[in-house]
């Protein structure tokens, strides 16, 4: 039951932010920093007004960082799914470590992106 109530929304939050950031930067041709900020802000507001789950904010922010990846991959969907899962796993492994350290979410995103790109054999 905890899987549906807690884990699935968190995984979806990461994936949604990732894809939203990617979509804004790729299809709307907006600078990647602006895309991440826009996606994060939009999903933050959506979460605050409708979903009302503050614990998802960190996952949203982390997902938007992964969405800033511009390295070419054969299948962006595969990258998005793989990196969402690795981010989720890393977040849980590090949930009691480095709390209060700025950049923790970005580091998790960075490691997830690197691992996913290596697994998908992308050219770094």
């Amino acid at each position: 039951m905890i899987i549906y109530k807690q884990y699935i929304p968190q995984l979806i939050a990461i994936f949604s932010a990732l894809v939203t950031t990617y979509y804004i930067s790729s299809y709307l041709q907006i600078n990647i920093i602006y895309s991440s900020l826009l996606a994060s802000l939009a999903l933050y507001i959506l979460n605050r007004l409708i979903l009302k789950k503050p614990n998802l904010n960190a996952f949203i922010y982390c997902g938007s960082f992964i969405g800033m990846t511009t390295t070419k991959v054969n299948s962006y969907l595969s990258f998005a799914i793989l990196s969402s899962i690795t981010t989720f796993i890393l977040t849980y492994l590090l949930r009691n470590k480095f709390n209060g350290f700025g950049g923790k979410l970005g580091s998790i995103a960075f490691i997830s992106s690197i691992v996913s790109l290596l697994l998908l054999k992308a050219q770094l």
Binding site: S36, L37, Y44, G100, F101, G106, S107, I108, A109, F110
Partner: protein, 127 residues
Amino acid sequence: MTIFISLALSIITIALTRYLLIIRKFDAIISSILSSILMIIFIKLIEYFFGLNMNQYLIYIYGASFIGMSTIKILTYQWIYSCAFIFVFFLNQLSLYIEGVGGILGFSAFVSVITIKVIQLTYRKLI
């Protein structure tokens, strides 16, 4: 000159994020987002009035906002601004080897926070 501007913008962004987080009691995520947006407006005004191209400094602003998300328990006011120096240097060096990977700004911010934290702990042991 670029380095000085990057450092200055990073320090201002850290201060702004800290202000929103600690004084205004906003959530860490929204403090980072808001401070980045406010700083982007600031550099856009500089671009408009002085005709300078400030787009290259966006990465320093966004990354510095992550440093500002650190709690006071981790780094006090006296120590957190020194993270900007490590951050700018590390990001510049890392960008030479890795490009186009998400999270690079956050990772650079994290390295800077960890480094200053270690220096802080070492300093406290020595005095």
